[in-house]
Symmetry: D5
Subunit: 96 residues, 10 copies
């Protein structure tokens, strides 16, 4: 099933740059791993904000929660989760 | 370029059923036409609401505006438009 | 999977009483049918408001959407849907 | 009587991990104790957030307040409390 | 137990004056009846708004709901209900 | 004249416990003094929050402000002040 | 004592022009009467909105409420009332 | 002096098309007249909404108010007015 | 021209008392200087909050901005600025 | 294409003055560079706030994002981005 997840990242301004960079590196690794596994289906940057709009493709809300909380940046993120369904007017087969 | 558009539809409860049905029919037609043209890239239903989350793929904001205002349901919709960019961690080539 | 759904009902004050009563009757019937089918697991009234807090137990967000939109009062309701997971500290087996 | 309580936990990101872990451990213990006592009837995790939706079954608002403020994580939580009543359409006997 | 209830009244501006007056008359009657019964403990007018702040003294949330929904103006009111407890610093015996 | 005052207390989580306890002690003393003087007419705890709903009985807004800002916890509180009037349907003589 | 009152006027767009004009005429009369009586101390128009910011000088909140609800446009207005005190840094004697 | 004005237009969905078209025609005329007079300096459409972002160049807030309230669509618009100043980092001479 | 400015002061609770007192002293001096110069026309305290409602009388928004940002407490204040016009029903000559 | 960007700057009050001054200096340099390049078309100060309203003229949302995130003050700014289109009533040729 699909979920839309909006993630707003707020790193403390006084965080040491190298700590922040390392966090972003492992975050990127984790995010790409999930994309390769087909869980993190779409990942877009919101123009002008340190935020993204994402579409997750998971078996359950439990799996979604496990994935999101495993993100290194999770403690610094405000997330909005919206459950999606197939739209009756959608022509894309795989958009479930 | 990509835009996320969230559309909340609010038809007046006292609208005659056949008027509403006809509106939905032509809306569906218009939406599928735009999808076939590659403009309306993703269309998902929000669970529990007469609303959708969509991703548009257009040349400009002007084109986006023309498409959205051409929708039969436009006068009955509240829209939130978010400009998207390619995310540095995205592995999908065509997610621009 | 479980969803929390909060439903705020707003009937137009000038709706004819018998129309409103009939709507409520068939709504009640539909709601009890879903409870008997095990889909609508909990249904509580919010004190002081024509609103409820409910827990749905469904296979997918699509099924949830189909159930909610089939409610006679759906056109008059504002709904908030929250996807739930099993809580690691929960001791109830069937709270998924 | 039943109350819905939504708890949003916000631990300071710079809290030492072992301090946070110990807090969570005693929180978990306290929560399970209340569940065993029948006070904390339902406890669900909100997908994507360090938050929960809970249903408490208490004698009074005073008892609810005493329980909630006794939680080790209370100083780090934003709570929304909603008083619930039995819904006229509910078919569950014990949902009061 | 005590509840604070804030009631915002919004009568449709085009409601016939005599209908509105009659509604207010029976509302006043009902409100004073509940005060005499000791259920509606305090009733204050909010300066500058057709709204009130009230304190109800009831056995349960169910009783509160029954009282509030029995008010003639209920369909025209937006209500905010807050469950109250005795405050540890209160010196009034009967403020429960 | 009467004012409703809602006070939300937010002590910094990292405040030393003994400092917090001392603050609460003198706050309690001050609050009870004002109640004995008839200024702080009602003080209720909001269930589930470190907050209260209060009714003040003062000569003027100036007096209200002097009382509120004299509270030891004032720097840590968010306050909402609502001016109240006698309600035409109130049967209590002393509810002004 | 002084109150700041912000009034947002929303006349139904389909109100007959002459009805609206007559309402505005008597509103203007009433407002100027109150100003002459010294009750309505300041009245400014908010640029770009059918709204005003006003300062009232009254004996009590009750008097304020009586004045405001006597305004012909009251049923069409959303009001925000803020109780004011003398500011310790104010140099104006009559700003109470 | 410059003001930013954001205008959200909400025409009643049941307004007769020809009435709406005529309103838009005279609105367009009025808007272009103000632009030719140098008062309405910039006028942009917000993508996806029947709304605009505008910059007005006027002598005073009074003049701004007179211009805005003279717009045929004014009764159907929600406006947000923001007073602007010259920015110390601006390199444009005429951006005041 | 006149502006309403609402100022909410939030000093960090852990600011050293003498630093806070000195800030308030010079703020008071600056505020009284502006009042004597006729720029800061009205200054009222909001009952129950470390906030004020003020009316400024300036030549332009630029002058307003220069005055406000010169206030010692400016970095600790949240400000809401509303441009005012003369109200057609105002009887005060000097209320512009 | 044009974007409206509103930037609210919030520097930590306890930031060392020279650090803040240096940040502002390089920010000013960067902002003027972008204006000279024609990317940052308009930059106005919001009266009374450490905030600005800007109009950017870029090839894409990606370019906008790159420009905004390259601003030295970016980590301390809350940004609102609105995609703009040419308005059918605009008479300015270059307002796209």
């Amino acid at each position: 099933m699909l979920f839309q997840v909006e993630m707003d990242v707020r790193l403390p301004p006084d965080m040491a740059p190298q700590v922040a960079d390392e966090l972003k590196r492992v975050e990127r690794e984790r995010a790409q791993q999930m994309q390769h596994e087909g869980k993190w289906r779409h990942l877009w940057r919101v123009a002008g904000r340190y935020a993204n709009v994402s579409i997750f493709d998971v078996e359950s809300a439990d799996e979604l929660h496990a994935l999101l909380t495993s993100l290194p940046l999770f403690p610094y993120m405000a997330m909005t989760v919206t459950a999606l369904c197939r739209h009756p007017s959608s022509i894309r087969d795989d958009d479930r």
